[in-house]
């Protein structure tokens, strides 16, 4: 876990866990599936200076409703403002902070790694251990599909480093609550 000293607003030096859970919040929003909604949400974050780690958006079981999973960094005060400001957007139906809710998070990464005859089998072993899939093979490169939470993908990436990661494309976190708990349309 990396720790960086950063300046807080009152000038004191504070240790912020950049990769930890303390100031990282996973929000799930139901929004109208309309043109411009993504711009409204992302515009809110940029206008008010909130930091987005990732934002993933897609359809839901209801045709005209989309779901956004937003991972945001900030203290309690910022989180409260983010939730309230998101809720104020006319096209946002429901916002929920998953911190206190048992939930599952998944991130999907497509990773292109240097690999040839000599080290491909070693790479395949690592993929097996992480339960990831090789989905494309060429003479000197493979593409791996990796699914998991952020920590697993991070650990997997560290193992791939010696091979040489050529490029990567990720979805960002999507999340859903465990059990029968659902995010309802009621505000």
């Amino acid at each position: 876990m990396k720790k960086l000293p950063t300046k807080t607003s009152d000038g004191a030096t504070d240790i912020v866990k950049t990769n930890g859970k303390k100031d990282r919040h996973t929000l799930s929003c139901l929004v109208e599936n309309k043109a411009g909604v993504l711009a409204r949400v992302s515009g809110l974050f940029s206008a008010r200076g909130y930091n987005i780690d990732s934002l993933a958006v897609g359809e839901t079981e209801i045709p005209d409703v989309s779901r956004m999973t937003i991972v945001v960094k900030g203290d309690e005060k910022i989180l409260e403002q983010v939730l309230k400001q998101l809720d104020k957007l006319v096209d946002v139906i429901k916002v929920s902070d998953y911190r206190a809710t048992p939930h599952i998070e998944r991130d999907l990464a497509l990773i292109k790694v240097k690999a040839n005859k000599s080290n491909r089998s070693e790479l395949m072993q690592i993929c097996d251990i992480f339960r990831t899939k090789i989905i494309d093979v060429a003479a000197d490169a493979v593409v791996i599909e990796a699914t998991g939470d952020e920590e697993k993908i991070q650990a997997f990436l560290e193992m791939l480093e010696p091979f040489g990661v050529m490029e990567m494309s990720r979805t960002g976190i999507v999340a859903i609550a465990r059990g029968k708990n659902v995010l309802s349309l009621k505000k």
Binding site: R40, A47, K84, K88, V90, V92
Partner: protein
């Protein structure tokens, strides 16, 4: 019967009870303006779209109804932006309708195309791009609903020209139902009870009231709560008139240029009851030193405003009027003689003051005289700058919706067009536009509208030949380096690039000649003795009139709490 989209716009506005709208036509608004030619409401042609947006805003502030403005695509739409941002910051209900290039060419960089909804997104409460004429009536209905309910604000509707031309049956939706928009209006019983409990225990309570009291119509409820609990009332710029200026519990304005007594009361109260105010930095100054001894209650319609800048002990979410009405029977009758005596002593120590002198006209004297002649009952609209702060201090209004000013955005150029909108909302009122020479020149072209439409407005122009508020800050905090604040002609010094000297170099324009060019009466005042006579004549006029008072170049606004500081840093005057 099938109507065109443009006719549906007009029909929908009629259904919404629109009596007057402001705007300028253009290529992509031609069908709309063709339909407006037959509209049963008044259509005011402005000289600039910014003027239209401020007029709609001023109309809304004065009337409590939704203001409406139109513009064409591209530059028409972008010219509205300042006015929409202004309305957004001050929570004013406005609906702006713009033309747009036809749907088939959107995104092709067509002539006079701008991504209008992209531009207005961050300065409106909500916006719509209408792609199907069948959605138009519903969208207009929703726009008015969103603009006027919850925390009010501007809503923009962009209507491509082919949608304006397309035909469909006009069906006015019976109700509005937006599943993602349900503003809370009724406060919770628990929250109000907790507020009442804090009020019961307070020895030094203070009501800090903002624009929400005006927009929710809470003045009467506020006065009754204040009287029953013997709680003094300090107002923000936005809440001038929320309580009558001559009420014994009215302290007057607080904040950076507020009264000493209001700021001292804020600092020493043991309970701060904020009503429809948002703890703006111009009120709080240094947050760490803000009202340190008090418990805090915050009544507000906007959940995001509660605990945003200042943590509060009790937040009451809901319409301020409804909250105060609910609170009234729960509070017991109280009296705070010690607290009231302390307050009286602060007021005696540093009342608002100025020295009349024997030189040029004193701006405070002009406004004080206006207040006396109109008994505080005129509808006063200000621009932004020193004249705005002098107006706030010396024109404490008798009634709500009678002092209109750009609070949050601080938009120079707001005042005069907003005064035109206000006069159309309240033709029964004497409307006075108090301006500074910098602010007025930003939108004074709209005088053509006042003349064209026979709208009698008294413009009081306080002319100090400077962008005075910036000059004041340069004097106090930037070593008197008056960079780009003199408004006079570059004179003898022009060749070496130095700033002009207002005492020596001439002023443009000559406002008396300018008034003559518009065919209106103009009076130029250079001595205090001329003020009352000229104001009497101007207030009796049945057409627009300009009163220009030449005021001292270096007159400053005091008291002043410098930005980001606490009340102990208050500068009472230069001496």
């Amino acid at each position: 019967m099938e109507l065109t989209g443009a006719q549906i716009v007009v029909g929908s506005l009629v259904r919404e009870g629109v009596k007057v709208a402001f705007g300028i036509p253009g290529g992509q608004a031609l069908p709309l303006y063709d339909a407006l030619y037959d509209a049963p409401f008044r259509l005011v042609l402005t000289r600039h779209e910014q003027g239209a947006s401020h007029m709609a805003d001023g109309y809304a502030r004065a009337s409590g109804k939704v203001g409406v403005c139109f513009a064409t695509s591209g530059p028409g739409a972008t010219n509205l932006i300042t006015g929409l941002a202004n309305a957004y910051m001050d929570s004013i209900p406005v609906v702006a309708i713009t033309g747009q290039v036809r749907t088939g060419v959107i995104g092709s960089d067509a002539f006079q195309e701008a991504d209008a909804t992209g531009c207005t997104r961050s300065v409106t409460k909500h916006n719509f791009l209408v792609k199907d004429v069948r959605d138009l009536a519903r969208i207009i209905r929703e726009a008015f609903h969103i603009a006027a309910t919850g925390r009010p604000g501007p809503v923009h509707i962009d209507v491509p020209v082919d949608v304006q031309r397309a035909k469909t049956p006009f069906v006015w939706p019976a109700t509005v139902r937006i599943r993602s928009y349900r503003p809370i209006s009724a406060p919770s019983d628990d929250d109000v009870r907790r507020a009442a409990e804090l009020i019961r225990r307070a020895q030094r309570p203070l009501l800090y009231v903002g624009g929400g009291v005006i927009s929710s119509g809470a003045s009467d409820a506020l006065r009754r709560v204040a009287e029953k609990t013997d709680t003094p009332v300090a107002n923000t710029l936005m809440a001038n008139g929320a309580i009558p200026f001559d009420h014994p519990l009215a302290l007057g304005p607080l904040g950076m240029h507020g009264k000493y007594v209001s700021n001292m009361a804020l600092q020493h109260c043991d309970l701060l009851i904020s009503c429809g105010a948002r703890f703006d930095d111009r009120v709080t100054g240094d947050l760490k030193k803000f009202s340190p001894k008090s418990k805090k209650i915050h009544f507000d319609i906007d959940p995001a405003c509660i605990n945003k800048n200042v943590p509060v002990d009790v937040g009451v979410l809901g319409d301020v009027r409804r909250s105060l009405e609910k609170l009234l029977p729960l509070v017991s009758r109280k009296s705070h003689p010690v607290w009231r005596r302390e307050i009286k002593a602060w007021d005696k120590k540093h009342p608002l003051s100025y020295r009349l002198g024997d030189g040029l006209v004193k701006p405070q004297h002009v406004i004080k005289t206006l207040h006396r002649l109109t008994r505080g009952e005129a509808l006063v609209v200000t621009g932004v700058g020193q004249h705005q702060m002098w107006s706030m201090q010396w024109y404490q209004a008798k009634r709500p919706r009678h002092f209109l000013s750009s609070g949050g955005l601080g938009t120079m150029g707001f005042g005069f067009p907003a005064a035109i909108g206000a006069k159309l909302a309240r033709p029964d009122r004497t409307v006075v536009s108090i301006e500074g020479d910098g602010s007025f020149q930003m939108t004074m072209t709209e005088m053509a509208i006042a003349v064209r439409e026979h709208i009698p407005i008294v413009v009081i122009l306080l002319n100090n030949y400077y962008l005075g508020m910036v000059r004041q800050w340069q004097q106090l905090f930037y070593n008197k380096r008056f960079s780009s604040t003199a408004l006079t002609v570059k004179g003898a010094n022009a060749a070496d690039g130095k700033e002009p000297t207002p005492g020596r170099d001439p002023y443009v324009p000559d406002f008396m000649k300018w008034a003559a060019a518009y065919g209106i009466e103009g009076y130029r005042l250079t001595r205090n003795e001329q003020v009352e006579g000229a104001l009497r004549k101007a207030l009796a006029a049945k057409s627009p009139v300009l009163v220009e008072a030449i005021i001292p170049r270096d007159e400053n606004v005091f008291p002043m709490i410098p930005a980001g500081m606490g009340v102990e840093n208050i500068i009472v005057d230069m001496a």
